[in-house]
Symmetry: D2
């Protein structure tokens, strides 16, 4: 069985695991006040070229989205997102559970276009009845998007300018940020992300960690008593070291980039194989997720030898499936796929 099912089917990258082993017997401060958490924060701030940043560690993506969004929004505000945004549809209503509406705008391949956003905000404030409506209080983007696509530096700058104009923060969901940064087709660096976004998170779970996401408030804008609110949202780990140690490993010797680059290299190889085999691409993705339209009968015939994940129905006889690569994808897997197809 070859698996391209997702980038979180395997455990931790060996270097991370090793670090957990090495530090296991140390008696450390709890609730995230341990030295590894402190060290990891410093390394992340350096990597972001943003010494004034404030970094917090959380366990998973939905958790991070819900906490960042609900603690930064005012009661009368909602968050603007693409209708395909993860928070819009695949987080079981976690944002709404905090009392805030997700305000959706159209998208192209998962990306919010600057002019669409501006039109939305203009028309909100132009509506005489807007005091009866949910105020747009933040813009949420994912990078890579749910479709594996990427914003260019220029596009980020445009979105950032619009957010500045309306005085609302731009928030980037970076569940797979590493794959975006290491794509062959990007001009966006981590420092750019810190520059254009008011808050973002660097995803760990899907980039080699067992769990963990690092939230970065890059503009001296972390909500007051954020730790208390993390606890209130049920997300404060007693053994905060679990997150600190992993991120300390990820941001030592460029591990985060190396893991990401490996997955990107594998994805590019995979892409070649899929193209050679004449597969039909659902979209052109520059990151570690590749989306293929496949006949249902073919999919069925492969199911004992190939694991990919269901994305959506394409039409009556076809399905879109996702191939994902990760730290654990091996060149042999690509070879085996080549044989299989």
């Amino acid at each position: 069985m070859i698996s391209f099912e997702s980038d979180y089917t395997n455990g931790a990258h060996p270097v991370i695991l090793q670090k957990l082993i090495e530090t296991n017997d140390e008696s450390l401060a709890t609730y995230g006040f341990d030295k590894y958490s402190e060290s990891a924060k410093e390394k992340i701030k350096a990597a972001c070229q943003c010494p004034e940043a404030e970094v917090h560690f959380l366990t998973g993506g939905t958790q991070t989205n819900a906490i960042v969004i609900s603690t930064m929004l005012k009661d009368y505000e909602g968050v603007v997102a693409a209708d395909t945004g993860h928070i819009s549809s695949h987080e079981a209503g976690a944002i709404e559970y905090t009392g805030h509406k997700v305000l959706t705008v159209g998208q192209e391949l998962g990306k919010i276009k600057a002019d669409e956003l501006e039109k939305y905000l203009d028309s909100f404030y132009g509506d005489e009845n807007h005091e009866h409506m949910v105020f747009p209080g933040m813009v949420y983007i994912s990078h890579p998007t749910e479709y594996g696509t990427l914003y260019s530096k220029r596009e980020l700058e445009e979105l950032s300018n619009i957010c500045d104009k309306y005085e609302i923060p731009l928030y980037m969901d970076g569940a797979r940020l590493g794959y975006g940064l290491m794509s062959y087709h990007t001009d966006v660096t981590l420092a750019d992300v810190a520059k254009y976004c008011d808050v973002f998170y660097i995803g760990g779970t899907k980039v080699g960690a067992l769990c963990g996401e690092a939230v970065v408030f890059s503009k001296n804008n972390a909500p007051r008593h954020f730790m208390t609110m993390i606890k209130q949202h049920c997300a404060l780990l007693a053994k905060g070291r679990l997150l600190g140690v992993q991120f300390d490993a990820l941001f030592t010797d460029d591990l985060y980039y190396k893991i990401s680059r490996h997955a990107i290299d594998m994805a590019e190889e995979l892409k070649k194989v899929l193209q050679e085999k004449g597969c039909r691409f659902f979209i052109d993705s520059p990151t570690n997720q590749q989306f293929i339209i496949i006949e249902d009968s073919k999919l069925n015939s492969l199911k004992d030898e190939l694991k990919v994940s269901f994305w959506e129905k394409y039409d009556e006889n076809h399905t879109v499936v996702r191939f994902a690569t990760s730290w654990s994808t091996k060149p042999e897997d690509i070879e085996a796929l080549k044989e299989l197809l």
Copy 2:
């Protein structure tokens, strides 16, 4: 100044006011246990031809929507509504504030089409990842819709059948229900509403009362301890009589229908005048709200003599405005409008 601004610019219909005056000095039970509330409930159940119904009085429309929806939904459920539904956009996020998502589907003139709804529900349960998504737990329709349009009896039956199939309640927002029932162009009766909907409300505020909406659970399906939840949602009036007396008046001698019919008669007259004057209708509405596309310059020139309400921008030089009639609209108002245009 002639005003067609809305159906809630004036006070109470004189008969309702009279009843408030007559009962004012009586010492009555509090929190809705007074005899007028009891009597009003009986009359409403009779009018609905639904003796097993349970009726509760609330103060306003958004309040009613939020309480009905949040108390009937389970935690993991959201409410399906047209993207133009009042709860989707014009209630300041009151539904999301209760922790529930509004799941939007497309519409035609404010109405949810049965096949669209079925497709939505089918595709939700057909999605392998639906356990990560908000479950559709109720269908919300408004009748008349936000565009003044109406469902036919057949359409209600179809929606009801789909809801039954998926075992979720059909909820009708009847903020202006009277105008729907008294339209020249409907085959839907109040008994039909009670038959096809699991819960609905009979709007008072916009049909002659000072305030007040009557929620009807028509299928022995009122949530347990509903009164406690009304209080929890800050909606339990100490002097519940205020609502009971008004609804007792509205459902005595067909007052609710008479008020509604008067407004419909006025709206039909209004329509004739607007047609005669060559006005451009935004949509064809069979109820007390009429939507007209008007040149901005023209609108501006009329603004000292005519009050209508802003609906939305049509294009750069045109605006959609709404004319509304009510119990207080007089034939003279229509005449004066005729002169004016």
Copy 3:
């Protein structure tokens, strides 16, 4: 049947009702933008001697408490209240429903003592683990309290100083404020309330109105977009005039004080009768509510001729009952009670 059941069993004071009648046919701006609401706000600001105040009208007491508390608190904060406070026990969890904890402190006859409050706040910040706890973000007092008792001006000043020291607002629930201001045993004026409290409400429902409470933010401290949040909390009346007209009447020609004073005069007469008849007072209340310990057998024997309200069980054979006076209490009622006992 003589009734001292509560101060909200009757309708509106005749002067208020008259004002509703007189203004009924006027076409007015909706959602609280009508001229009567504007006028009422000005009169209230004048009565408070607080020109910089911001006034909003809401429908009922629990609603007002929940909206004021939840919009002024930050997410990580709760509200400090006496364990007998209305929000602590008799509002069906409306405060918790907004996500905030009610932090209780001990009380004497319903009043929070300054030293108790200070001890509570000191010990919170002295606790090394307080970042894992709910921050005290506001102090709630009721005046008169749930036991009809009153704070002195000195006591209010002390509470206010402590709140200032900890930079949290002092909020007064004035559901029956009029009766406190018109008590024979108070040195507190409405201007004092505005001076010492950061926010408070002037109760209408229990002081002669059909419904309605006036929230006063006295320190330029109204939350931004408060109207939107009123709507979000399901409390924005379409016919806002209903509240505006009533408060305009209440604050014209001192009606609010006159209504309150009448009830106080009646309560003092009632007290005399109860004393003469040898009734046992549960507490010594200086306002319109009087609490009497009565034998259950006696209570039962009176139940066809006297309506009072159950307060709490005193012991196995005795019950505490409450007598309340209001605008509608007549000297004859007191006389009749004298006969009866």
Copy 4:
């Protein structure tokens, strides 16, 4: 430096760590559908002698409390807890954030007495106004309690009977359950817990795991779509294996009991030393937490050599500190303490 600071300052028990290492490279199903999670669930059901149980894994204690409580309560209900209960004071309002009130009753050494509970429930339903109050919908106990004390089997049975009478579930917070089960002074087994409690959790974080708690619904009473609600509460781990593998290790070869027993043995040794040294015990705790009243000057003089945790101020010159043992406590630590004191 000797540390008795807490039972969560060290990493995972070596056997658990080993299991994480061994399984790290396996490609496993995500979101808790992996084979280790399945296996762990079966082992836990067997250990509870409760084949009909349903088991779910969550990350931490506050998270577990908030999810269990909010998903089992109805909207109009709150949870009854000791005023010293963890949910009452040390979870940053996480329960209230879900919209539910924590209803507090008095306690003795952290334990709710059956007669106190019964009195509370009787008096709630005996109160004529209880429809205006929060309904008690669940009883929360911790075992061991926050003071390290334990319920006897008889006491659990009594609480269980009262809950049955009132048809509300009994919920046990077992953050340190192992230490309770392995105490020298208990007659309660895991099977008893499953018998008397409707739902409980077996704490992992404080009993040797890196993170993780196992919720057990023992009466066929797991809320529907619990997984969706776990996601909604931001608690669904993508790599659910992290929890499954750890609990599979904990429930293989009695590891959970062995870890717990070791800590208890160490605690009993510690107790002897503290007694020998004439220390003053704050309470008599039969589990792994020992509470000592110590002079502030003494505490200060030890602070470079001994780490314990602040519990509360005892009086002006004394502090209560907590000593905790765990899997990582070594006999040498006790010896060193003996030397030190």
